[in-house]
Structures are given as C-alpha cells and as structure tokens.
C-alpha cells in the first residue's frame, strides 16, 4: 500500500461574484515510502493548492473533492483534531518563504519545542535537547547558542534550514516542500537540495517537492507530475520524462530552458507562445490547446483524459495527439 494515495483531487473556490473557479481538477498520484515526487508547473497551475488541500490548509472559500488516503485514512474527511495529529507530525511541511513562515516574535527554541511538547508531550528540557540535535543535523553551526535567537538573526539559507529542522523534529514519513529554494541563491540552493537528498537517502523520508525549476527536479526527484491550469498533463519517472517528454507542454517547458551546456547561444530560445489561461478561462477542450503547436480540432473540443502513453510504459499523459509525434518533434 502506498504511503499516500491521492485520487481525483479537486479544489474549487467560490467567488462573491461570478462562477466558482476550479483551481485543481482530477489530480491523482501515489507516493510510496522513501520516494521523491516532484510537482512541476508555472504560477497558477494549481501545484501549491494541491498540497494545501491535502493538509486542510485551503482558504475559507475553497472546497475540496476526491480522496487522499494516508495509510488508508482519508485526510480530506478528517476532523481538525485528527488532522492535527498527522500534519506537522507524520507529514511535515516547509514553505517557500522562510521569513514569513517563522514567527518573528518567538525564539527558534519556542517554535521548535512547541511541536514536540504538543505532539509528543515531551518535557521542555528534553524537547530542547532534541531541537538542538535536529538543528545540528541540518548543519546549523553553534546550534546550542543559536537556538535562543530570533528568526531575523538568521540569514535566508539558515532560516530555511531552521524550517527544515522544524519539519524534521517529529521524524515525519512525508516531507512536503513548497518551492523550498526559490527565495535562495544558487550556492545556498545547492546546499539545501543536498540536505533534502541526504534526508531521503539516510532517513528514508518520502518527499513531495513543489517547484517550477526543472533543474531542481532533475537532481532530486524519482517521479514527476507536470501540472498546467489545474490539471495533470504528464506523470512519469524523472528519467523517462526528461529523456522523452510525451506531452507538448512538457516538451515546450524543457525546450524553453536556457542551459549551461548549450553550445550555440546565438540560436533563439524556443518559446511557448501566449500566456497560461486565467482560472475560469479554460474552455471545454484541452487547457493547453491555444498555445500548443500540435493542436487539432479535437483538442479544442474535448478534454483529453490522463491515460497511459502508448509504448511508454511508466508514463501517463493527457493528450489527444499520438506520442510518436511529440517524440519526433523533440529530436527534430
């Protein structure tokens, strides 16, 4: 049984004026213990709302549908009290902006020991010792002294380490990281990615990484799910997806990236024309159709379901066009 199994997840936001907006539609994935899953997409693709929905963190006007079973229990129908025993304990979360996700009025010690005192009923002294150990394990130098400091006394990379340490305190089985390195410099990003990789390898923590950076996914994730306009367009192992993307959007995304290994920089970058649709603007057909180079009449009329890609065993794709056509275009 997978650790986490999400089926047909949908997130709908009601609006004071106008029709409700579907931010996420029909998202399914499963996460085995010790695996790493990357959820990739551009801003507004629904990648963050997907995990927010799992943890019951949606805004007040958001409604969730579908199921998400963690060890056989549906997270989406749990009471707040039941959910509180799981999130922050069995499922840890780290956010993009380490400054705004830490409480500026409390010392790191207060913020870290709170979790242990609450979830584990640990006495304060023991909680403090455990917090220091965890800070050391994410390589914060001089942890015993720095635990008494406030968030503003830490640099961006150190704050993100503190966030990771907080998530690790209860030794979660799943760590959800929402754009954990987006606000960081590349040399610091490399340190944080290395840290996450170690966690996964040494403690067997399963990781869901939400990012827009294909490079970060390539370095860390076993499986990848690509989202566009609230829907999954492609799902495959990282090795398969990067070697042979089967959806035109994935292909476009990979081609649009400038690379350090490009030999000929004078060639223009390949672009995806136009802009992603606004929520509520998606019609009956494929959401990517207006920007797609392979688009046909059928693509504009009916939405392709997510189905196995013919000839590519471990890949799922939502596209009407034959796989061969996309693969050929990649090598053209």
């Amino acid at each position: 049984m997978p650790l986490l199994e999400v089926k047909d997840l949908g997130v709908r936001f009601t609006r004071r004026e106008g029709a409700p907006v579907d931010a996420v539609q029909g998202v399914s994935f499963s996460l085995e213990a010790g695996r790493t899953l990357g959820i990739v997409g551009e801003s507004g693709s629904g990648k963050s709302q997907t995990v927010m929905a799992l943890l019951g963190l949606l805004a007040g006007n958001g409604r969730v549908s579908g199921t998400a079973s963690y060890r056989g229990k549906n997270l989406l129908t749990m009471t707040e009290a039941e959910l509180n025993r799981i999130r922050g304990d069995r499922i840890g979360m780290i956010f993009q902006d380490p400054m705004t996700s830490l409480n500026p009025f409390l010392t790191i010690e207060r913020q870290m020991t709170e979790t242990l005192q609450l979830h584990r009923k640990m006495p304060r002294r023991e909680a403090r010792r455990r917090a220091i150990e965890t800070l050391e394990s994410v390589r914060i130098p001089d942890a015993a002294r720095r635990i008494g400091m406030y968030p503003h006394e830490f640099s961006g990379g150190m704050r993100q380490r503190v966030m990771i340490a907080m998530a690790l305190l209860s030794e979660p089985e799943i760590l959800i990281a929402d754009e954990p390195t987006t606000a960081l410099d590349v040399t610091v990003q490399a340190q944080i990615i290395e840290l996450l990789r170690e966690l996964n390898r040494e403690r067997g923590t399963a990781i869901i990484l939400i990012t827009h950076d294909m490079g970060v996914v390539a370095g860390l994730c076993d499986d990848v799910m690509v989202m566009y306009a609230g829907q999954t367009v492609e799902q495959a192992s990282a090795a398969a997806l990067f070697a042979a993307p089967t959806h035109p959007y994935t292909l476009g995304l990979l081609n649009a990236l400038p690379r350090l290994t490009d030999e000929d920089d004078d060639r223009p970058l390949q672009t995806i024309p136009g802009n992603p649709p606004l929520p509520g603007e998606v019609g009956a057909g494929c959401a990517f159709a207006p920007r797609c180079a392979f688009c046909s009449e059928r693509c504009r009329e009916s939405r392709p379901p997510l189905a196995a890609a013919e000839g590519y065993l471990d890949a799922l794709r939502a596209c009407h066009r034959p796989v061969a056509e996309i693969i050929e275009a990649q090598h053209a």
């Binding site: 390539a218 990236l257 995806i272």
Partner: protein, 352 residues
C-alpha cells in the same frame, strides 16, 4: 565562431566604469548617538560596455550588482570613481565637474528595465501614457500625432498592439507588463539599456519569450545591454561578456565563452557548479562543488579577498591582500585571484 558581428572587440566603448565605489552609512546601534558605519555596496568596480554588446552581470543577492546598475544611471550615490560615457566626459559623479546638460544626455541615452514588471508601471496611467512619457520628458517637441505613431510602432515591436493602448497595467500579465517596460525603455532610442533582473519574476515559458525579444531588439537597434541577473543559464543565453561580482567586487570579467567554459576564479567555478542541470542523467552524475556558508556581511567584509571565507582554494596569503585583477588567456579575461593556476582545475560541467 558565428558570434553576433556587432559584438566584436573593436567596437567603440560606450560606457566605461572606473574604480567605482558606492557606500551607504548605516546606523551602528539603535540610538541616534550610536554613530554610523559604512556599508561598501560596490567596492572599486571597473568594467566597460561596448557598442552593440551585452554584458551580463551575475552574482548572489547582496553582491552589489543591482546597486552598481543603479549607480550608473545616478540612482545610487557614487562615493568615488567615475562613470564615463563615450569616452570623452565624466558624467558621474554629477555634482563635481559635469553640467546638468551632461546628465540629461546620459538619462536619455541610458534607460532601465526593472525586475518587478507590474510595480514598475504607474497603475494610474494607460499603457499609451506610460510608453509616451520618455518622449515627452526628454523634451523633443514632437507633435501629438508623431508621439502616438511612435508609441504604436514601439508597442507592435514588442508584441503588443493598438488594442492595448487605452488599458491599464493591472489588466496585463507579468510577461505583457515586462513588454510594456521594454517599450518604455526603448522609445527614446537609447544606446544602452540596463536590465535589472528583467526575467526573474517570470515563468519559464514567458521568460524565453522576453529573452528572445531583448536579443532581437538588440540586434536590430544595435543596442548595448547591461543584463543583471542571478540565473547563470539566462545570462549565458544573452550575453557576450560576463562580469562576476562577489561582495561588491569583481571576481572575474571576460568573454562569455571563456568564463563559462574555463572559469578561472574559484567563485565562478562554484557558482557554475551549483546550477542544477535539467537532466537527471547529467545532474546525478555530477559532483557539485558545494560552498560552505553564505555570503559575508558587507558591513564587515573579510580582510583581503572577499571570497576567501568560503573559498575551497584559500591560503593564508588570501587574508592579507586584496587581489588585483590580472588578465589571463587569449581573450584577456580579468580574474581577481592570487590562486589562479594553483588550484586544481576542474570543469564545473560535463561539457564536451
């Protein structure tokens, strides 16, 4: 080599920056009598931009790259050093020798594109007013119909059209706002455009559109660009020469091909090594050159070489002297490191 023909080494120097220093006074303590200490945001930077070339300016946050860009257009206080325009006159610092006329010329010839595309457009102005404004401020006494015609031509050039003229910035996406920002920068026919992280806030698919647009415009109008960014792959795609900064100082400055293929400064090597490659086969086989810690505080920079506290190749001598830039190789790359050639050469990328 089929490099852009305009970007040859003999092209005239448009802008030359000589030993530029920008300093800010920051309070030392929480009280008015605590006194002030000096933050050296830019600490003795020299470089030049030739006609029709793109100079990429890279470095981590806090390295002074944006401050340097802003100082060139007079938006940050220059403590010492000079900014020369077309080789003949010192235009900055403006207070000393130059007249008002000199600065206004620089203002017209040098334009800027900002990072946050929406925040850099006045929300109460229509797109037409925003794009027309530089023509009106620089007092070229154009007829109204001329202004309208030029605004429309410019908008079409950046991929917008007449329908957008009467709209307001909030009606546009980030990529479209950046197109408006580019139109506003280019309408006065500047010679140099300073782009401060112009694509960092954009999604990948939009980012490629804007990079291509800037590159096309540059070739057509033989513009020079100073392209400030932290994304090394984007800088590689657009630049001819690259300047690597760390803690207010230049670490390496040279031809793009040299800097990316044979980085000489340990910091350049570390930066390139840290960029993740979007290919699992390559990325997982690579050995990353992980740096210790983070950039030091510019309030209290290390003695000697600014990078030595994180440098894998540092020796005792690095702490005693500030390394001066020395030229290396056929393309005269300037490298500020006393350890060049001593450290084990390791290509940061498996690049055939």
């Amino acid at each position: 080599m089929n490099a852009t023909p305009l970007a040859n080494q003999n092209a005239a120097t448009l802008l030359s920056v000589e030993n530029l220093k920008v300093q800010f006074g920051v309070p030392r303590g929480g009280f008015p009598w605590s006194g002030k200490t000096t933050l050296r945001a830019v600490d003795g930077v020299s470089f030049d931009v030739r006609r029709g070339e793109t100079v990429g300016l890279v470095g981590e946050s806090g390295c002074g790259k944006s401050t340097l860009a802003r100082a060139i257009v007079g938006l940050a206080p220059v403590a010492s050093g000079s900014v020369r325009w077309l080789g003949d006159e010192t235009v900055l610092p403006a207070s000393t020798s130059s007249t008002t006329r000199d600065t206004s010329r620089l203002r017209r010839d040098v334009q800027m594109i900002f990072q946050d595309p929406l925040a850099s457009l006045d929300p109460r102005m229509t797109i037409e007013q925003i794009v027309a404004e530089p023509l009106l401020t620089h007092g070229q006494n154009l007829a109204r119909t001329d202004v309208q015609r030029r605004v429309l031509t410019m908008l079409e050039r950046v991929g917008l059209n007449a329908q957008h003229l009467r709209r307001y910035p909030h009606e546009f996406s980030g990529g479209q706002c950046q197109r408006v920002g580019i139109a506003r920068a280019l309408i006065g026919e500047p010679q140099l455009v300073i782009c401060d992280e112009p694509v960092s806030a954009l999604d990948v698919s939009i980012q490629a559109q804007i990079v291509n647009l800037l590159r096309d415009l540059q070739r057509e109008l033989s513009l020079s660009l100073l392209f400030v960014a932290h994304d090394l792959a984007v800088v590689k795609a657009i630049s001819h020469r690259v300047l690597v900064m760390y803690l207010g100082r230049v670490m390496e400055f040279g031809d793009k091909r040299d800097v990316y293929r044979t980085p000489r400064h340990p910091y350049t090597r570390a930066l390139l090594s840290a960029v993740p490659v979007p290919d699992p086969a390559v990325e997982r086989a690579r050995r990353h050159l992980l740096l210790r810690g983070e950039i030091a505080s510019p309030l209290n920079p290390p003695s000697g070489c600014a990078f030595r506290t994180r440098c894998p190749d540092a020796i005792d001598a690095c702490a005693t002297q500030i390394p001066q830039p020395v030229t290396h190789g056929a393309n005269a790359t300037r490298v500020a490191c006393i350890r060049v050639g001593h450290a084990p050469e390791e290509a940061p990328l498996a690049n055939s």
